[in-house]
């Protein structure tokens, strides 16, 4: 079994493991940020790292690891493809979700904008220029 694993498989697996390690690092960083940052609009930064760095990067890594794991049989391409699709979905959906949430939070004043120097969106809304 050991000799059957080709060099290409090893390269794919090691590359994937590097990506998963980076993703896990980002994940912990984002979680600490989520816990320590003072308010909602600052925590959005941590959420970006958590969604893209903590989910997109490890999912690509999983796709590479699965492509190299010949002990999983032919179904490894199933894992590989599905993980890649999930990665693309996360890349598309996570930023839009945060955008909608942040816009609604700003509009309804559910969270305070702080630290604030100038808030053009609020001024526009007072003048009635946004819908």
């Amino acid at each position: 079994m050991n000799d059957m694993a080709s060099v290409l498989d090893w390269v794919l697996v090691l590359l994937g493991e590097v990506l998963v390690s980076i993703g896990v690092f980002f994940d912990v960083v984002a979680a600490i940020g989520m816990l320590r940052f003072p308010n909602f609009f600052v925590r959005l930064h941590a959420a970006t790292i958590g969604a893209i760095g903590g989910a997109f990067v490890p999912l690509i890594g999983v796709a590479l690891i699965a492509a190299g794991c010949d002990f999983l049989g032919p179904y490894r391409w199933f894992i590989s493809g599905a993980a890649a699709i999930t990665a693309i979905l996360v890349l598309m959906l996570a930023p839009v979700g945060s955008h909608l949430l942040a816009k609604a939070a700003h509009e309804s004043r559910a969270a305070v904008v702080e630290p604030k120097v100038v808030d053009f969106l609020e001024e526009d809304r007072v003048r009635g220029e946004t819908r």
Binding site: L89, M92, L93, V96, H99, L100, K103, R131
Partner: protein
Amino acid sequence: MNLLLYYVLMALCSLGSVIAVVFAIIERDLLKAVLFSAIQSTLYAFLYYLLMAPDIVLTYIPVSVGLYPAVILFLIKKTERFENVETKRSVLLSSLVLTITFVIVSAAVIAGRGIGPIPTPDVRFLAAWYLGTTFNPSIQLVSAMAPEGVTSIVWDYRGLDTVFETAVLFLAIIASVALMRGIEHKGVYDELKHGMSLIGKTVTKIVVPLIIGVGISIALHGHLTPGGGFQGGSALAVAPLLVLVIFSKYFFDKVGFTKGKALAIRSSGLLGVGLTSFAIVIAALFARSGAYILQNQPRVGAPIGFPWKGIDGVLLGGSLLSFNACEAMAVCAGFVILFLLLAIPEEYVRKVLAQGGEHEH
């Protein structure tokens, strides 16, 4: 494979769900309670994954993360947000400590003294029978000839149960429709006035076809990989709900998708389930042989069955494929009817109700 790690994951996951449930029950702000129950749902879904039930995960996530919070949010927006009770922080903390201690101590007692080794290596005889015959060409006269154990049980071994469960599902939907009878609402869709921001609309245009694709593939591959009619139907129902929330109800009026059309789709799905369950009986009438209702593969005394293998050895799953497709249509359309009714503006409903009262009495 480290078994201890596997069980630690399960235990942590269920302890987390206990904490989320305590918060959800004690919390006075109902919107927060819904979000805490969404955390509980996510953790339960993870627990089902660890208990090796991918079919349940595929149903449970669309239902409890995609549909159920939306329904409760509709309800809170139409009624009131705060529960009329006092909650103290000390009550929350003490109940948290109490529940967690109770769980751990009682688990230690059970594991140490009482019921013996709980993770058994065997399943019951009935389960072994289902597993052994679900896809077994050597004993084709008792086999379901589909590799997915759960879908075989749902539509072959226990097909009659499922037909009656479908009936219960549609009675519940009909009862809800009856509560809102006589209320029709139409409006004109205005791209600028209705719905959410342009970014949300654009991405939803990309995501809705993806959701429909995932839903259809879950439904139609139900006999090969985890999935099936109920899973695919509840997954598909999220797409119209997203359109309803992001583009507004008036978008449905613009494209001409009304309650009546959804009702027609639902009825044709039900008709398909009925036809599939009688298909072999009808075929046997012409061939002058015996047959059973809800029959899938050939049985003793009933030699006609659905084909289970296509060209090049593609597995067709017999009647399961047709059942899954029809059931997905019916479940999805049934939920869409209810969401269309929920989305009617409250002011309009009250106006109609007031007028109707005057006319009748």
